[in-house]
């Protein structure tokens, strides 16, 4: 049994991959929070709580839901849009919900525009620039998502959530697996359910990494 916990950083210039520290992915019907396997229902509640607690809760949709490459992707994109609209409705005026796309994985040189996009090769730049303290990846290829999640954990204090269509991500602080339209909609329902019950975080990052 590992003692390692997947927690908000900044952890290290090069934090270990959580899988290499003994963190295991959830089975169907489960999620994980900080590397501990939990029933999926608990993950919904905690994800909604983290979104509502954050000053800048942000959704990062990736290419798998940004492009209508099949019917399922188009439906998922609609669900992501619904989640974003719901998030905006549920936060207070002091909070600033955002949706920033990850349209592709090309390294952007000489400099990314962090106001309009996030890139898996240097995701910390977008987190830092927008002072994002809670984010959710959805529709990002798993390898690229893991790169991003680990770099974010390494250099920022942002809380990371993965809505993964495959087996989940142990490098996120919270992960769903087998993401579907229904699961994205259910997370939106949980936001509505917890609206007004969660206090916005007053935390200021010690490193100033994301706050």
């Amino acid at each position: 049994m590992t003692q390692y916990k997947v927690l908000p950083g900044p952890e290290h210039f090069l934090p270990p991959a959580a899988a290499s520290m003994g963190i295991r992915l959830p089975n169907p019907g489960e999620g994980h929070i900080n590397g501990v396997i939990v029933p999926e229902e608990q993950a919904y509640e905690e994800a909604a709580r983290q979104f509502l607690m954050a000053k800048v809760p942000t959704i990062f949709p990736g290419p798998l839901v940004l492009w209508a490459w099949n019917e399922k992707a188009a439906k998922k994109a609609t669900a992501v849009r619904h989640l974003y609209e719901t998030l905006k409705e549920c936060v207070t005026p002091q909070q600033h919900a955002m949706l920033i796309p990850m349209p592709d994985y090309r390294p952007k040189y000489p400099k990314i525009n962090p106001e309009v996009e996030i890139n898996p090769n240097h995701p910390n730049l977008t987190i830092w620039h927008n002072k994002i303290d809670c984010c959710m990846f959805v529709g990002v290829h798993c390898h690229q998502a893991n790169l991003s999640l680990k770099i974010i954990r390494g250099g920022t204090s942002c809380y990371t959530i993965a809505m993964c269509a495959q087996a989940g991500h142990e490098d996120a602080m919270l992960s769903f697996r087998d993401a579907s339209v229904e699961k994205i909609m259910k997370l939106a329902e949980w936001l509505r359910k917890l609206k007004g019950t969660v206090k916005v975080s007053q935390m200021v990052s010690k490193s100033g990494a994301s706050n």
Binding site: A17, S20, L25, P107, L147, K150, G155, G168, D171
Partner: protein, 402 residues
């Protein structure tokens, strides 16, 4: 394509595309008397392979030729010969980048010649399956069995399994595709066996029905996009992160490598489920244990039988998967052993090193006996090694090779 949507349909050869769990664990089996090379052919007949690329080198040439027959029969969609092993492995990468299920075979110097490709396969998350029918690689030339090449594969980021028998080989070829194509794994598999001992000897093998085959590979579950010249991983072949020489590019490069090894770790769960554990054990409460992989395990079994006749009880640990490495399982299995004997078919003793690095009190490990290519390992030399460890006078029959 949703893989589940094609289950129950037939392919052009009339094979029913079958749920992998049902095919491997529930379908009736037919005992058949085959060589290891023929077993490779029979497994590939049922594996729904898109592309096989071949190059002749002993002792895998026969298997490569037999799969050519499968192509002629229509079971493999594409088959051709590369210009060298390096070319073959590069072409395998191209086919896998394009979303095909890819198979190849190699051996000894061929493995070494193609070596540059293997970390590239892993780094690009290509779930290619490569059979390695191990043979000598070092000069003076030997085409005989020798597992030295496995030592070089262990740090490529590939999954590495080591089959003892033709039955292992048959089952693991098919199960190997399932594990290595899992989206959280998605890595190449080097499925190794000891050349000639497994490839050129006949054995009874229980085969799944020939009219069933695995579901096709679904490239849309890949953790990286299929061929895209502008996006990593393909772009990284011409435009690597580290060429930018800045802090975040180094971090990205390093994180990418960590992710490959994280995927090896993730394969642990699937490998355990599909091949029934990373190790197999017998009588691990004995004071003396033989721990090894491949046909050294078979010779170990015979040594255990010989020693049992003399009233000496010896246990056995068969290591099935080398990557992921079963460190925890070996620690647990060897916790009570006073002497751990590691017979190996190579001169350097890579297995003994791996075991020593995994357990407490590693001076319990007896690094031998070893044979370095070209000969079998008489069980008597394992017996002799065990007797020496126990302080029983025994005629020396072979050195440790180094």
């Amino acid at each position: 394509m949703d893989t589940n949507s094609v289950i129950g349909t037939t392919n052009k050869k009339g094979q029913v595309i079958t749920d992998a769990r049902r095919m491997m664990f529930e379908a009736p089996r037919t005992p058949s008397f085959y060589t290891g090379s023929e077993v490779i052919k029979e497994a590939i007949r049922r594996a729904n392979v898109d592309v096989m690329i071949a190059y002749p080198i002993t002792p895998q040439s026969e298997a490569a030729a037999l799969i050519g027959e499968l192509f002629a029969e229509g079971y493999v969609k594409e088959y051709f010969r590369g210009e060298s092993e390096f070319a073959v492995m590069s072409e395998c990468a191209g086919a896998a980048f394009g979303g095909a299920r890819v198979f190849t075979t190699t051996a000894g110097p061929g493995t070494m010649r193609a070596m540059e490709n293997f970390p590239m396969w892993s780094g690009a998350r290509l779930p290619i399956q490569m059979i390695v029918t191990c043979r000598g690689i070092n000069s003076p030339l030997s085409i005989q069995p020798d597992t030295l090449e496995i030592a070089y594969l262990l740090n490529t980021g590939m999954l590495v399994w080591h089959a003892e028998t033709a039955q292992d080989f048959y089952d693991w070829i098919l199960k190997g595709y399932i594990v290595s194509e899992e989206p959280d794994v998605h890595l190449p598999l080097a499925l190794c066996c000891d050349g000639f001992f497994v490839t050129h000897t006949k054995d009874m093998v229980n085969l799944t029905p020939a009219d069933m085959c695995l579901p096709p590979y679904d490239p849309y579950r890949s953790p990286v996009p299929c061929m895209d010249m502008e996006c990593p991983p393909v772009r990284m072949m011409r435009d690597p992160f580290v060429m930018k020489s800045n802090y975040i590019s180094y971090a990205t490069h390093a994180s990418w490598q960590q992710e490959v090894w994280a995927a090896v770790e993730r394969s642990r769960k699937h490998t355990i489920a599909w091949i029934d554990g990373l190790i197999e054990t017998e009588n691990v409460d004995a004071d003396v244990l033989i721990v090894s992989s491949g046909t050294a395990v078979s010779q170990g079994r015979e040594a255990i039988r010989l020693l049992a006749d003399e009233g000496i009880r010896v246990g056995l640990v068969k290591v099935k998967s080398l990557r992921p490495w079963p460190g925890q399982e070996i620690r647990e299995a060897t916790k009570n052993a006073k002497h751990i004997i590691v017979p190996e078919f190579n001169v350097v003793g890579w297995m003994a090193r791996e075991i020593k690095a995994s357990i407490p009190n590693s001076d319990r490990v007896v690094c031998g006996p070893r044979v370095g290519g070209g000969m079998t390992m008489p069980p008597e030399i394992i017996v002799s090694e065990i007797k020496n460890a126990l302080g029983i006078r025994s005629a020396a029959m072979a050195g440790r090779g180094s």
